[in-house]
Structure formats: structure tokens, C-alpha cells
């Protein structure tokens, strides 16, 4: 498996990242190195091995449905680049996802 520069560009766009042409070449090379290693691992027959989502079999305790205080609005807004007294402010968006 390998990726083209176009695919790297597309993936970068999905992650909202922007690269120069030189960087794209370098990234494609790096990614293809990684994928080559994956191919190597794929040579092992895993057809009768259950896929593993998590490396450790720990059952994480669940939380009881209790309300605890969070942070105040002032604290919540403090780190935002743009805000008014009540809201986080972002550039206008109209498209819905």
C-alpha cells in the first residue's frame, strides 16, 4: 500500500493542515515508509485472530449519574481567543455538517 501526494493533500485538508510542496513530498515519503512497514506486518496470517481494539483487558468503572460543579462561565471563556460576556465567538459559519 502507498499514498500519492494528492491523498496526502486531501488528508491534510481534512485535518485543516497546510503544507508547502516540499513538505508534501517529504510527508508522502515518510508515510510510505510507515505503510511499507505495515505491509510487512500484514504478511503474517491473522485470519483467525480476533481484532483487538484495546491492548489491555481492563473494565473501566462507569460513573454514577451525579451532577458535580464544573467551571464558571468566566473561567470557561477565559482561554478563548474571541468571546463576549456569554459566548465563544467564531468566524461566521453557515454550512451545516
Amino acid at each position: 500500500m502507498s499514498v500519492t501526494i494528492e491523498q496526502v493533500k486531501y488528508t491534510a485538508a481534512l485535518a485543516r493542515l497546510q503544507f508547502s510542496d516540499e513538505e508534501l513530498v517529504k510527508l508522502s515519503e515518510d508515510l510510505n515508509q510507515i505503510l511499507k512497514y505495515m505491509d510487512k506486518m500484514n504478511e503474517i496470517d491473522t485470519s483467525d485472530v480476533e481484532p483487538l481494539s484495546y491492548p489491555v483487558d481492563v473494565r473501566k468503572p462507569l460513573r454514577e449519574d451525579e451532577v458535580l460543579p464544573g467551571v464558571t462561565r468566566e473561567e470557561a471563556l477565559r482561554n478563548a481567543p474571541e468571546h463576549d460576556e456569554k459566548f465563544f465567538k467564531v468566524p461566521k459559519v453557515i454550512n451545516q455538517s
Binding site: Y10, L14, R16, S53, Y54, V58, R59, K60, L62, R63, E64, D65, E66, V67, L68, G70, V71, T72, R73, A76, L77, N79, E82, D84, K86, F87, F88, K89, V90, P91, K92, V93, I94, N95, Q96, S97
Partner: protein, 486 residues
């Protein structure tokens, strides 16, 4: 002209139901709605770096309950996944949802189809996920973000494309909502967005199996709009096909004012969600023991309750359906009926008087000013003859207005029914004496005059005379007069 009947609509629904937990799904912030923006927040739902989500046990239980109620298989091992997309209502840049290993799958839900026959709508899956925040677009250059709703627990209920008309879609939705409310896990308010629905719609020639190109309808915030939007879209697709034009796979937004569904702006590649297992959450493991506990807690569901109303109370199917349409109404009826022997009478009072008032005043039954126990006392007083049915309705109106109980009103207004035969006989004789003209007519065979006398007696007694006794005594007396004159 396009022949609509040769086409068969194929509809699948995606329903989002907001769960009635106290706290959010992955943090301890309140899940309830707040008018004030950005007050139910903490580093977890704000998406700050380095925080870890912890799953709310109740949210899992609620989702399992809905799975059981829709005959789903409960997957005792299920996995959360990240659905990645950038939108300002999603601080983390991804929504925690479930993907290839949902909590519940492979169920079905029964509805009555357009021909009145039972039809099974497949439930593909029910999974848990977090809600996004809210964007407000009103102010000048930017948009305002309110994070309160971020992390509110949702279940998404995905149906198979088994629905064949807009009416069936509404029936399915109504049924799901009724069950959610019975389970007490969602308030089902479509206008306020705690119960939302998207529809996948396509059409195909009757009798064919292959699916047509589908479109996805969004932004339908009432049952009425769901029905209108689906009807509109079915018509649009049939016309396109009739003209030999292709249906384009796209998302359409319903505009309730223009009654049109318009394509949503935005690039389709925005839908490359790159799901992957959420590394911050362990898989959800539901032990047999836990599953049994949840099964044990499952309340009686609408179908079962309806059957029980028919069997135990001997009520007609129609009554049972109306009375079990919501859990609260059914509870009200059962509390009312628990002290009475005449269940049909109790049913009539709930269906006509109580529900009539509720609809008129747009109340929920929980806001109804006459508690079941008070109404029960009033009905008891009808059965034992203290008041007539007619007077009871007046007392009932007074009970609603003042909140006083039946006995209080009856005593204060002196409304106790006159059942004393001697007293009624005296009144009858006085009235007959005062109306020689009418009595002459009756004797001559004009039966209608009987009603005139009944009216007079009732008027004289302020409507309090026992109607049955009045009828009996009056008939006896008038017939006697008639015989005497012969």
C-alpha cells in the same frame, strides 16, 4: 402525466433521542437545558487537552432499555468511536459515537401500516453518542457558540428502509416516542429538539427490489413537518424519474415556511468522518447480571398495557388505545379506576372530560388541576346517587376552577341530588296543576309534552332531582291522569 402509483417509496429514519439523565454522558455537568449559555461546562465537555471522559452508567442503561423495548440484540461488548469533523459546535473536533460495534442491533418495531395491518419496521441499530453544542448566527460578523448541550447523552435509533409512506413514518415515530416516554428515558419533545428525526427517502418501481438513489431529509422539527417533507420529497423524486432525470444523492433541508426541501450547501467530502476506536474510553461490557437487572427494571410497555386495559378493565379497544397513548394518562386512569367499580364510566370521564379539557387548555395531564383521587370521589358520588351526572359535570368544572374537592362544592352549593320520592311527587303535582294547557295536550295523546314536564321539574329543583326518579314518577302520574279522564 406522471403515474405516482407505479412507484413505491422506500423510507428509513434516523431518530435522535436525548436521554433524561441528570448529568452528561462523559462528564458530571448537568444535562438539563439552560437558558443561560455556557454555564453547564467543564474541561471535559469544553474539549480541553488532557482530559478524560468517564461514561455515565445511567446513559448505558437507558440505551439498553430502548434496545430491549425494540427487540434488539444487546451487544454485551460495544465500542465507542470518534467521528471526526470540524464544526464550531464541536469543541474537540470529533464526536464520540459508536460505529461498527453499537450497543444494540437487529431489532424491530411494530406499527400499523396504511392498510391497518401490523407491519414490522426493522431497527438496524441503537447506539450511544454525545450531542454537539449550539451555534447562534445572529450577531454581525461572527457566530456565537454555546457549549451547554455538548456531551448531552443521545441515542440514535436507525431503522431499516422498511417504511413505505409518510404516514407510516409518522406512525413509527409516534410509536418510538411513546415507548421512550413510557420508559421515562426521553421527554420526546420534537419542537424543543429532544427528539429529532432525519429521513432517508428513495423511490422505486412497484415490485422491484433494487433501491433507488436516496436523499437525506433534515430539519423537520414536528410530526407535521416530517409528514409534509417526506411527501414532498417522494413527489419530487417521482417527477424527476418520470421526466427521465436522475435523482442526485444529497442532503436536503426542509423549509417549513416555503414547504420546500432545498439542497444543503457544503462540500460532500466534509462527510469523510474517519471513524476510529475512541482511545480514551474502554469498550462497554455489559455482564449478564447487569443486563438482567435492567430487564427486571423495564416498565410495562404501551402494547402490553393496552392489552391489559382490554382484559382487566373490560374496556373497548378504542378506549384502551386512547388511555394508554401516554404513560401519564394511563397512570391517571388507573388511579381513578382503583377506587371505582364502573371502569367504563371512569374511561368515559377521562376520555371526554379530562382529555377534552387538556386539549382545549393545551395542558399535560400532570398539570391537570383535578387529581385522580378527587375525580374518583366525584364519580363515586354519581354512582351512589348523591349527585346526577349532569350536576357532576358542573361540580367538575368548579373543581377545575377552584381546586376544591367534590364534597366541599356539593355541600357549599347545596347540589345534593333530590332522590326523595315524596318530595319529587309534590313538585310534580304542583307543576302539573300550574300547567293545565299542557296537561290537556298530554291527555289528548301528545307524548312530546312529557319532556316539557321533565324540564319543568328539573328547573324547579335546580337540576338536582334524580332524573330516573323524576321520569318514573312523572310517567306514572301522567298516565294516571290520562286514564282518569277517559
Amino acid at each position: 402525466m406522471t403515474d405516482y402509483l407505479i412507484y413505491e417509496p422506500v423510507i428509513g429514519l434516523e431518530v435522535h433521542a436525548q436521554l433524561l439523565t441528570n448529568s452528561k454522558i462523559f462528564c458530571s455537568c448537568p444535562a438539563e437545558f439552560s437558558v443561560e449559555p455556557n454555564v453547564h461546562v467543564c474541561p471535559v465537555c469544553l474539549g480541553h487537552p488532557g482530559v478524560l471522559p468517564v461514561l455515565n452508567k445511567k446513559a448505558v442503561e437507558f440505551a439498553v432499555m430502548m434496545g430491549l423495548a425494540t427487540n434488539c440484540k444487546i451487544n454485551q461488548y460495544s465500542v465507542f468511536a470518534r467521528k471526526n469533523y470540524f464544526y464550531p459546535d464541536l469543541p474537540k473536533g470529533y464526536q464520540v459515537s459508536q460505529y461498527d460495534k453499537p450497543l444494540c442491533s437487529g431489532g424491530y418495531f411494530k406499527i400499523l401500516n396504511s392498510e391497518g395491518k401490523e407491519s414490522r419496521i426493522g431497527v438496524t441499530r441503537i447506539h450511544l453518542e454525545e450531542d454537539a453544542g449550539k451555534l447562534i448566527h445572529d450577531s454581525g460578523f461572527g457566530s456565537s457558540v454555546d457549549v451547554n448541550r455538548c456531551g448531552t447523552p443521545l441515542i440514535e435509533i436507525v431503522s431499516e428502509p422498511d417504511i413505505r409512506s409518510a404516514e407510516e413514518a409518522v406512525r413509527y415515530l409516534n410509536g418510538l416516542r411513546q415507548v421512550l416516554q413510557y420508559l421515562g428515558i426521553c421527554d420526546g419533545n420534537m419542537e424543543e429538539g429532544s427528539f429529532r428525526c432525519d429521513a432517508n427517502v428513495s423511490v422505486r418501481l412497484q415490485g422491484t427490489q433494487e433501491l433507488g438513489t436516496k436523499t437525506e431529509l433534515k430539519n423537520m422539527n414536528s410530526f407535521r413537518n416530517v409528514e409534509k417533507a417526506i411527501k414532498y420529497e417522494i413527489g419530487r423524486q417521482i417527477e424527476l424519474i418520470g421526466e427521465g432525470k436522475p435523482v442526485i444523492q444529497q442532503t436536503l433541508l426542509w423549509d417549513p415556511d416555503e414547504e420546500l426541501a432545498l439542497p444543503m450547501r457544503g462540500k460532500e467530502d466534509a462527510h469523510d468522518y474517519r471513524y476510529f476506536p475512541e482511545p480514551d474510553l474502554m469498550p462497554v461490557t455489559i455482564t449478564d447480571e447487569w443486563l438482567n437487572e435492567i430487564k427486571f427494571q423495564l416498565p410495562e410497555l404501551p402494547e402490553t398495557r393496552k392489552s391489559r386495559f382490554i382484559e382487566n378493565y373490560g374496556l373497548p379497544v378504542y378506549d384502551s388505545e386512547v388511555l394508554t397513548s401516554s404513560k401519564e394518562i394511563a397512570d391517571y386512569f388507573e388511579e381513578l379506576a382503583s377506587n371505582l367499580s364502573d371502569y367504563k364510566m371512569a374511561s368515559n370521564w377521562v376520555m371526554v372530560e379530562v382529555l377534552g379539557k387538556i386539549n382545549e387548555l393545551k395542558l399535560s395531564i400532570n398539570q391537570f388541576p383535578v387529581p385522580a383521587v378527587n375525580l374518583s370521589r366525584l364519580l363515586y358520588l354519581i354512582i351512589d346517587g348523591t349527585v346526577s351526572n349532569k350536576i357532576a359535570k358542573e361540580v367538575f368544572t368548579e373543581m377545575m376552577a377552584s381546586g376544591a374537592d367534590a364534597d366541599e362544592i356539593i355541600n357549599k352549593k347545596n347540589l345534593i341530588q333530590i332522590s326523595d320520592a315524596g318530595q319529587i311527587q309534590t313538585i310534580i303535582e304542583n307543576i302539573v296543576r300550574a300547567h293545565p294547557g299542557q296537561i290537556k295536550e298530554y291527555i289528548e295523546g301528545k307524548e312530546k309534552v312529557f319532556g316539557f314536564f321533565v324540564g319543568k321539574v328539573m328547573k324547579e329543583t335546580g337540576g338536582k332531582a334524580n332524573p330516573k326518579i323524576v321520569n318514573d314518577l312523572l310517567l306514572k302520574y301522567l298516565l294516571k291522569l290520562r286514564t282518569q279522564s277517559e
